[in-house]
Amino acid sequence: MTIQFPARPFPIRLAGLLMIPACLVASTGAALADAPVPNKGDTAWMLVATALVLMMSVPGLALFYGGLVRTKNMLSVLTQVMAIVCTVAILWVAYGYSLAFTNGGALNDVVGGFSKAFLAGVDASSTAATFSNGVVIPEYVYMAFQMTFACITPALIVGAFAERMRFSALMVFVVLWVTLIYFPMAHMVWYWAGPDALGDAAKAVAAATDPAAKAAAQTTLDAVSADAGMLFKWGALDFAGGTVVHINAGIAGLVGCLMLGKRIGYGRDLLAPHALTMTMIGAALLWIGWFGFNAGSNLEANGTTALAFVNTFVAAAAAALSWLFVEWAMKGKPSLLGMVSGAVAGLVAITPTSGFAGPMGSIVLGLVAGAACFFFCSTVKNTFGYDDTLDVFGVHGVGGIIGAIATGILVAPALGGTGLVDYLAKPGEAVAGHYDMAAQVLIQLEAVCLTILWSGIGSAILFKLVDLALGLRVPQEQEREGLDIAEHGERAYNY
């Protein structure tokens, strides 16, 4: 798909990418002469944000999930989450970063290439673009920040088939899934040339005097504009990972729990959480870490970063109260698990729009997401009888879809949103772009549908392959004994 710049207003803030190589920039000498240098404040904030996102996985997500399973499976969940984080971290620097955030040549719409495999060409002096002209951060920071997203996304999936999946099969599945589903998805949504590359190319067009030079400069600008992932070029907005992280993981989880089948005793035995205290601790760590996830996705420390921070705060609070009160009204009691589930649902929903919506819009989104996810986790799941153990689909899939679609609405300046940004109208400056709510919502819907199909079909194929090769599920007697003893040879609690 080709794109006609500047016909389409460019959406600001798709968590962006590195500087385009200087060879693509028309006036190489001039570009190098005033190449921006990283700001220490931006760099410091992004390093902190990166560590915060890692804290979401371990220990946040691990404890959130761990508390929800039975005593006999506690360690299996902790082990799975941490092993996934470690595995993906290594894969990311080996080839994941390159597949997500480099030009993929003929396949560039869908996936990057191997030019930065093993971090080739990345060193302490290389920089990555942000969303502001003339602002860059060290590429190591950008790479590490994006690494934490790649680490947590497959870890989210394990909740859907907790208490029954074979560890070896899970590890093989995760390697395949991040390689074939996640890295391309991140490329499709977040890979672009960056504001400076676009601005420089557009300036060159404006500066060219004779027709031949103008045509050459326009060709360069078109190449820079086209050097982005497919969903980015559609104009799909995803500030911090509604499609890439949450819908992607939620759908993979739904497919996984359907293909593995229900746990023994599902719907008959007491399969209650063993330690909601730990779930509360985990959820609180997730909330805190999410400030790094969402506010960090602005890639620099400025007012939009603070906006994302505030939105993350209030959307989670609104959704927690929403679930709490809806459950209180429907089931008779206000539960802790309901409240923390609501908080996570709100955090998921605000993710794609955290830097686009205004705080009041975020509260409304949180209220809707809390109630909707409650409905899916209780009524819909019980009606269809699928055993999504820890509600990965009900919270991350549903919350992500609601948030991704709502992004198209809440970005509206009339609703307190930031509006879209056009980097080409005045090259070198980010100015307000044209925004059409119906068109933007349609683009968001298309992005959601593509993510559902991409993750759903891809995950189904990968689960099937791993099932044929290794078997996805532990034998019945091991499931009854518990995965801690059967798979890992240890138990969480000895007393």
């Binding site: 209650a272 459950e327 698990l337 509600d391």
Partner: protein, 112 residues
Amino acid sequence: MNIVMAIIKPFKLEQVRDALSALGVHGMTVTEVKGYGRQKGHTEIYRGAEYAVSFLPKIKLEIAVPAALAGSVVATIAEHARTGQIGDGKIFVMPVDHAVRIRTGETDSDAL
């Protein structure tokens, strides 16, 4: 000799123990158990998944006493474990053939 076995509500344990001490009972064995009788269980709800929990936590006391004391022990437990609500528990009295104190080798009533 008798074993008095009583199933009582957990929060009544200290009150019963104090009353039995005053009566001259100087030892007992306590176990945390679950069970049900006429008292119904409760419902637990986790994200909309409802579970009927019919086994409720109780405390089981086992007290070995000389036969002469068994009646007053039963009466004391019955008095102090009582709330008047369903679920107060039950008391059983069983005969004991033989008893040994392991440290000294004393037997029967000397061992109690």
